[in-house]
């Protein structure tokens, strides 16, 4: 019974989708070209994604798996054209076969080898070589992180504003900012029991955290709604052409 309703709903939506698009194609509102067919494909995928709202269903699963595949394909091709081709292929390999006016950049061999080693991760016998590459990248990342984080996120973030500022609201705000930063840091302090003064301050820290999470909550609602608005704009403007 339940399945029957699902199938009939699906059929009706498909019929409606086809009728609208055939109508648009016949009347010339959508051209029978890459652009027109592109819009129809995009609409079909958008609706397929939204079918998840009714329930998890095969149409959604097909659309999602297709998306995952296309995104991976795109990533691979873009990496070829943007990184591997200009930085490895053209600098190291092309000069051997063609006179480009540049000698082969032998130094590129080192990162290329390390990059290829990384892929050996999936081999049984040589996976240990991939560790060399990971060690290089992870060590490099760790090394540059430390001093730059100390500078940008600790020293630069520590402000020592006078608690008596130009106006009363400013003074209060300066005090609240100090209290907020200190109390949140104390909340994430694990070496002392949260009792007495420490307990009180960490309690204030919780309040600050909750207000901040409330702000994030409001902004996240805003973000998700914006995405929906964008998609509905696409459907009723670019496809149906109801609004301009």
């Amino acid at each position: 019974m339940d399945k029957k309703t699902d199938v009939s709903i699906l059929t009706w939506i498909l019929v409606a989708f086809c009728v609208i698009n055939i109508f648009f194609l016949v009347t010339g509102k959508l051209g029978f070209d890459a652009k027109g067919l592109g819009i129809i494909t995009a609409v079909a995928l958008t609706l397929a994604m939204y079918s998840f709202l009714y329930k998890d269903n095969p149409v959604f699963k097909i659309a999602e798996n297709l998306f995952v595949g296309v995104a991976m394909g795109y990533w691979i091709i873009i990496t070829w054209f943007n990184i591997l081709k200009p930085d490895v292929f053209e600098q190291l390999i092309v000069p051997f076969f063609k006179d480009t006016g540049n000698a082969p950049q032998y130094i590129v061999i080192i990162p290329t080898l390390l990059g290829i080693f990384m892929l050996l991760r999936f081999s049984d016998k040589l996976s240990w070589l991939s560790r060399w590459s990971f060690a290089f990248v992870v060590g490099l990342g760790a090394g540059i992180t430390i001093p730059n984080f100390i500078h940008a996120f600790i020293l630069k973030q520590l402000t020592f504003d006078s608690l008596i500022a130009g106006s009363l609201p400013d003074s209060i705000n300066n005090f609240l900012i100090l209290l907020g930063v200190v109390s949140v840091l104390i909340y994430f302090f694990f070496s002392l029991e949260h009792k007495g003064v420490i307990g009180g301050v960490s309690r204030i820290g919780v309040w600050f955290l909750m207000i901040a999470f409330g702000a994030s909550f409001g902004f996240t609602v805003m973000a998700r709604m914006s995405l929906l608005i964008g998609r509905i704009q696409f459907l009723i403007r670019d496809w149906l052409g109801i609004i301009q």
Binding site: I83, T159, S216, F219, A223, M225, S226, I229, I232
Partner: protein
């Protein structure tokens, strides 16, 4: 009353769809007033002289397109209108197509020439490594642009050696790239940085605003709408503000209504 609390969520879905669609159909305008965060970016770009170089990092992918693409387009309009040279790049492979189309379309609208007035450098991976490499020498990080042209001697990049030589850098981010641009770009190589981001990460950026590590901040579709108002070119972001308002009121109503019902049924028990 408990039945009201347990209604099928699909009924709520219908309400949401209606709250977004109807305001788009019956157009009504609500005043969008620019906040000082968005104004920070606008004023900075407005103060640049003709021929200045602005680097825009399109660090987002299709998942955040609806929030960040309007922002990118508004920003590009402002730059091209003021005859500023725009250099685009991305650290997100999924962002290349979106960035390329935005920069080309807006550039064409103002009759700007590729390679001379603007250039899209394309995608590089490694985030902080790319930033540092650009900070040392931009031609080392991007020897070729997205279309395969050599970047050295490109007129759009004249007088630009490294990140320091940009008059302004704007990062449009859907992830944690703004933090990286601050730590490994701005703070290391000293340039002015502006940020645009999805609303989800917007609140996390306020410490950087206060410490002046970013000049300004656009968050989410609202940020884009404010920018559209400032450059006086109202488009999809401003149009989105009326459904945004209605749907927020709906969500707030749901929270209040749901909590009232919840506490009433609990008291009964």
């Amino acid at each position: 009353m408990e039945r009201l609390l347990k209604i099928d969520r699909r009924i709520i879905f219908v309400f949401v769809a209606a709250a977004v669609t109807i305001p788009l159909l019956i157009k009504f305008d609500l005043p969008v007033i620019a906040t000082k965060e968005v104004r920070g970016i606008y004023d900075k770009i407005d103060s640049l002289s003709e021929g200045s170089h602005v680097l825009i990092a399109f660090d987002y992918d299709p998942a955040s397109k609806e929030e960040l693409q309007p922002m990118a387009i508004a920003l590009l309009h402002h730059c091209f209108k003021n005859n500023i040279k725009v250099i685009g790049m991305t650290l997100n492979p999924g962002g290349t197509g979106l960035a390329d189309s935005a920069i080309t379309e807006v550039g064409n609208e103002y009759g700007r020439k590729y390679k001379e007035d603007y250039v899209f450098l394309g995608y590089k991976t490694g985030v902080e490594l790319v930033m540092i490499n650009m900070g040392e020498n931009i031609y080392s990080a991007f020897p070729k642009d997205f279309k395969g042209n050599a970047t050295t001697d490109m007129p759009a990049l004249k007088d630009v050696q490294s990140l320091q030589d940009f008059d302004f850098v704007v990062d449009l981010a859907s992830g944690s790239s703004i933090e990286a641009w601050i730590a490994f770009g701005k703070e290391k190589y000293n340039f002015d940085l502006g940020a645009g981001c999805t609303a989800v990460i917007g609140p996390d950026m306020y410490p950087f605003l206060q410490s002046k590590q970013i000049e300004g901040l656009m968050s989410g579709l609202k940020g884009a709408a404010e920018y559209e108002t400032l450059i006086n070119r109202k488009s999809s972001a401003v149009a989105g503000m009326s459904p945004q308002s209605v749907v927020h009121v709906l969500v707030v109503f749901f929270v209040i209504f749901g909590n009232t019902l919840y506490f009433m049924t609990r008291r009964k028990k």
